[in-house]
């Protein structure tokens, strides 16, 4: 199979990139390992506050439908239940559907494989009933299965509180949100108010000492300011943040870099979101953990870079697109994330003695000057 652009990962970044690239006439293939597109949006029932101007405010799963439906009239081939398994020395990418392996010869590859949830360990964490918050959310919103009756949430970031509120709405008693720091990580006031209206207890300076039970979680010890308390729970949801998925980048021989603010290790990339392996691009959470606006916009910037590399649009069009997208990113992305992202870009341009795109350079200045 030959194509102009191969997108690995059909979540919000990949879908949005596909739309942009195919709109400029690029023959595009999306491969996704799951049976339907949309990535993590499929079980998000909340809507997003920080979206680019060209998006209506939609609930997560509706946003996925929108992103998928608008690809229909375009030259986009969708390969669901296909997994990237490796690269060949001639540059083509091996994709398998469990029966065969298809080598795909792509002029550009965009990897939008997103991020994975971070676990946390304590004695008993491998018992059934301990799961990530994301897993619990898939169970209630997609599979329509209640994962338990009484739950503890470990972690207090925005996602932890969102899932706590959703589980509560499903009738699960949330016995506590356990956070080892002295304050909540979530800064979304609306969400904090929802938790407090639901009378969900927040246990700061707390850690889960252990989960115990025969064959499944039945009780958990929580250490709070040095005192152990026993909780009757059959569900523990771990929400300790997310980190970029790295395997595809290692297999494609892209160099990695460590930035705590962006979620840990991630591929290095230039101002056009190209990795250290030419024609391999990255976007979305795989390029550093950000908000939904950042995920959508980086996908589009990477797509424009692919369009530019194939001369599929005029210089003026490309300049306008980039200006709009980078300005939106500046408006929407949390400053600390954008700073860390620009730092990754600056470092690679310095290292390779490559000139910074003027737009990126001007953002450096804007961030410093506030």
């Amino acid at each position: 199979m030959r194509t102009d652009l191969l997108i690995v990962g059909g979540g919000p970044a990949g879908l949005n990139a596909a739309y942009k690239a195919a709109s400029y006439g690029l023959k595009t293939i999306i491969v996704d390992k799951w049976f339907s597109l949309g990535g993590q949006l499929r079980q998000q029932t909340q809507s997003y506050d920080h979206l680019p101007q060209h998006f209506a405010k939609l609930r997560g799963y509706k946003l996925a439908d929108f992103l998928i439906d608008r690809l229909k009239p375009l030259d986009v081939t969708i390969l669901e239940k296909h997994t990237l398994i490796g690269a060949y020395s001639d540059g083509s990418v091996g994709v398998t559907n469990e029966k065969d392996i298809l080598p795909i010869d792509a002029k550009n590859v965009l990897i939008t494989t997103g991020a994975m949830e971070e676990p946390d360990i304590f004695p008993g964490w491998t018992l059934p009933g301990v799961m990530t918050a994301g897993a619990a959310q898939i169970l209630i919103n997609r599979e329509r299965v209640l994962p338990g009756k009484q739950a503890l949430i470990l972690g207090s970031n925005e996602f932890a509180l969102e899932v706590a509120a959703q589980l509560h709405d499903c009738g699960i008693a949330i016995k506590g949100i356990v956070e080892n720091r002295s304050e909540l990580l979530c800064q979304n006031e609306k969400l904090i108010a929802r938790i407090s209206n639901a009378e969900i207890p927040i246990v700061l300076n707390g850690v889960i000492e252990s989960a115990i039970g025969k064959g499944k979680v039945e009780e958990a010890y929580v250490n709070h300011n040095g005192n152990n308390a026993l909780y009757d729970v059959d569900l523990i949801c771990v929400a300790k943040g997310i980190t970029p998925i790295l395997e595809p980048f290692e297999v494609m021989n892209c160099d990695l870099i460590y930035r705590e603010r962006l979620g840990g290790w991630l591929p290095e990339y230039y101002g056009n979101f190209e990795t250290t392996n030419p024609s391999i691009y990255v976007a979305g959470n795989a390029a550093g953990i950000t908000n939904m606006g950042g995920i959508l916009l980086t996908g589009e910037i990477a797509a424009i870079s692919a369009v530019e590399s194939l001369n599929a649009a005029s210089t003026v069009q490309i300049k306008e697109e980039k200006e709009y997208l980078w300005n939106e990113l500046y408006r929407i992305e949390y400053n600390s994330v954008l700073e860390a992202r620009l730092d990754v870009i600056n470092e690679l341009h310095n290292e390779k003695d490559a000139q910074l795109p003027p737009l990126v350079d001007s953002l450096n200045g804007r961030l410093i000057n506030g």
Binding site: I85, T96, K99, D100, P103, P123, W125, V251, L256, E260
Partner: protein, 111 residues
């Protein structure tokens, strides 16, 4: 924390086994992997990657930014042998042979 707490659930490797490997001189994830099979199960270190890095950091005093992820190899997940052997253009030999050799030492630590 209880040293018998599992870190790598695929291979059932606990904190004690990882710390013992570090005591024996392991200072990278790859060392620990070779000594214990930690991170070599079906999930290929997805779950334990940062847990192990944290233990290495606490035990050796290295900063997290200096502790690399383990080497990741093709195939990137559980894949049927029949799929790997499915057609001539992409036989087992080409998928494994081509991707391993050259990249092999690229991301390995300098010893």
């Amino acid at each position: 924390m209880d040293k018998s707490t599992i870190v790598c659930r695929c291979e059932e490797i606990n904190i004690d086994e990882i710390e013992s490997a570090i005591n024996m001189g392991a200072h990278t994830f790859n060392d620990i992997k070779r000594l214990t099979r930690c991170g070599m199960g079906p999930c290929q270190a997805k779950f334990c990657m940062n847990l192990v890095r944290k233990i290495i950091s606490e035990k050796t005093g290295q900063s997290l930014k200096d502790i690399k992820p383990p080497r990741m190899r093709v195939p990137l997940g559980v894949t049927r042998m029949s799929a790997l052997a499915s057609n001539k253009a992409s036989s087992v030999a080409s998928v494994f042979g081509e991707s391993a050799e050259e990249g092999e030492t690229d991301h390995e630590e300098e010893l």
